[in-house]
């Protein structure tokens, strides 16, 4: 489904705490339901660039959850980590404020059998604020009856958030979710790849597909481990984006064998074999 042409003004329905992050909900009266992995370009209507002239460009943000809007349309939930002027402004949005959005943009995660013939199950691997698109993907897999496990990793307490997006109706974390934190404040003390490795080493690993989103070092570790174990994977990457719709050529990600992909239109979800090495240079 195409994105509506142009940007449109949406209203902030809610802004709540989610551990170290924020969940900002917007009411979209025009757009279609986004697919897991897709993103929007967001810019606050007011106070965008007020402090020192930045943020100037809109910011790419993955959709983390959707619901029917209270007054029609669709409610879009975004999980945000304040790392600079743009995300700080978005994290500070109050209910009723306006946000310019363009989207849904980019491709989406594919079903296991589409990624690897014969694959039926899924392992979702998220790190930091990168857990956002996996929350929507987990919901989709749940609805479609795709067997899945979810492994989430965080640095420390301040950088742990979005867990409520992985809770069932009882409010408790879903049983298929496992946590790893580097400071050990919850879950396994260590990295999310420490949870992934035994799964990849299991006999039935190749009947599943790994879906990952997180910081570049984590994605690179996941990509390399999957390649080593012959397990197919899809990675949701980041790169600097000015436009999100293929206009600026800023979001280049090197292709194995030379040349570049435009991550906003060829991604953000790429198969492991479409990427040479996930690097900070473009992330």
């Amino acid at each position: 489904m195409n994105a509506p042409f142009g940007r449109r003004l949406c209203e902030v329905a809610a802004n709540r705490d989610s551990g170290g992050y924020r969940v900002v909900s917007l009411l979209d009266h025009e757009g279609p339901e986004p697919e897991p992995g897709q993103f929007y370009m967001l810019a606050a209507e007011a106070g965008w660039g007020a402090d020192g002239g930045r943020a100037f460009l809109p910011r790419a943000i993955s959709v983390a959850a959707t619901a029917p809007g209270a007054r029609g349309g669709v409610r879009l939930d975004f999980l945000l980590d304040a790392v600079g002027p743009g995300t700080e402004r978005l994290c500070g949005l109050g209910a009723g404020e306006g946000v310019w959005i363009t989207g849904p943009l980019g491709n989406s995660f594919a079903a296991p059998a589409e990624v690897s013939p014969g694959a039926a199950g899924a392992v979702l691997v998220g790190g930091g604020v990168g857990v956002a698109p996996l929350a929507l993907l987990r919901r989709r897999f749940g609805e479609r009856g795709v067997p899945h496990r979810v492994l989430l990793g965080f640095r420390d307490r301040r950088h742990t958030g979005g867990l409520d997006l992985f809770c069932g109706s009882s409010g408790a974390l879903c049983p298929e979710v496992r946590l790893a934190t580097e400071d050990g404040h919850t879950g396994l003390q260590g990295r999310v790849t420490d949870l992934l490795l035994p799964i990849l080493a299991g006999d039935d690993a190749r009947s599943g597909v790994v879906y990952a989103c997180g910081p570049p070092a984590m994605l690179e570790a996941v990509r390399a481990l999957c390649a080593e174990h012959g397990v197919a994977c899809e990675l949701a990457l980041e790169s600097p984006m000015a436009c999100g719709f293929g206009a600026c050529f800023g979001c280049a990600v090197p292709k194995p064998g030379g040349g570049f992909l435009r991550l906003c239109v060829d991604g953000p979800v790429l198969r492991g074999d479409q990427v040479e090495e996930v690097s900070h240079a473009y992330a």
Binding site: F56, C243, A247, F260
Partner: protein, 298 residues
């Protein structure tokens, strides 16, 4: 109705080269792009004789009220463009202008001939912000180089030749005059201003290429002054650009002598910025007409 070198335009707003990929936008937004196309003419990204992959990341860096880019002109090359892109661009509901860059007069001439021969092409924009490999000079930084290039290209086509001036010179007016003497039909300005930034996280240049070009509202006063000085030096039509984000911005360029304006970076923030600028400009100009003195004292 506004026009550029005899090409009739629905309104005076076109796109800046390299800031809108109509083929990608059609895939993202569907037919709505064609039904409500934001520009009165479409200017392609600059194409070169051979394919180019573009520069290593990082390619963009946000600045106060603007951005730096070092994209590096990724494109399919002349033949790839003619075979794959041109037929698809011909489906756009507006006239097509193809931007060309080459590093020798011979290569430029070959590109101009091949592109101009195509019926779908209304005009050619010459991106002269590149070195001539023979002289080592940046063509657009030197009036005589620019004049000589136009003298080579002028006999190759009847179609309008628009020279895209570089702002990275002491006197753009002298280069514009050289373009006019060589036989150009119009000039467009400004291209991006050379600039750089340091990534606070590494202490090293933020862009992979070390430096880039600045665009967006940050450059608008520079662009306006260059348009003013070029207007004073030539009679050629001017396509004015540099930081245009609203109809009021566009009106400033027209007031200083541009006949058409182009929107670049603002399209990244608003994919329909071209239509919005045109609509705002229309109402600005209508207001001005209304407020003109009603008494004619002559």
């Amino acid at each position: 109705m506004p026009e550029l070198c005899g090409i009739e335009l629905e309104h005076p707003v076109i796109n800046a080269s390299g800031t809108y990929d109509a083929i990608a936008a059609r895939a993202v937004f569907g037919d709505a792009l064609l039904e409500d196309f934001p520009f009165a003419a479409f200017v392609s990204k600059t194409i070169t004789p051979e394919p180019r992959a573009g520069n290593a990341p990082r390619r963009i860096w946000e600045t106060p009220a603007g951005m730096l880019n070092s994209i590096g002109l990724p494109n399919k090359g002349l033949e790839g463009f003619l075979a794959e892109d041109l037929p698809r661009l011909a489906a756009l509901p507006v006239p097509l202008i193809v931007s060309i860059m080459a590093t020798s007069r011979e290569d430029f001439a070959r590109c101009v001939e091949r592109v101009a021969a195509r019926r779908e092409v209304a005009a050619i924009e010459l991106n002269v912000s590149c070195p001539n490999v023979h002289s080592g000079l940046i063509v657009g930084e030197d009036p005589a180089e620019t004049e000589a290039l136009l003298e080579t290209l002028r006999p190759r086509t009847e179609k309008p030749l628009i020279v895209k001036l570089t702002p990275n010179v002491a006197g753009p007016a002298a280069v514009a005059a050289g373009a006019e003497r060589g036989g150009a039909d119009a000039v467009s300005l400004i291209n991006t201003l050379k600039g750089t930034a340091v990534d606070p996280a590494t202490g090293a240049p933020a862009l992979g290429n070390g430096y880039g070009g600045l665009s967006g509202p940050a450059v608008r006063p520079v662009a306006l002054e260059q348009v003013r000085s070029v207007r004073a030096a030539t009679g050629l039509p001017i396509v004015g650009m540099g930081g245009i984000a609203s109809g009021a911005d566009a009106a400033e360029f027209l007031a200083l002598g541009a006949s058409v304006v182009a929107v670049g970076t603002e399209s990244f923030r608003d994919p329909r910025a071209g239509s919005r600028v045109a609509a705002e400009l229309e109402s600005t100009l209508r207001l001005e007409r209304v407020s003109e003195p009603v008494l004619d004292l002559d």
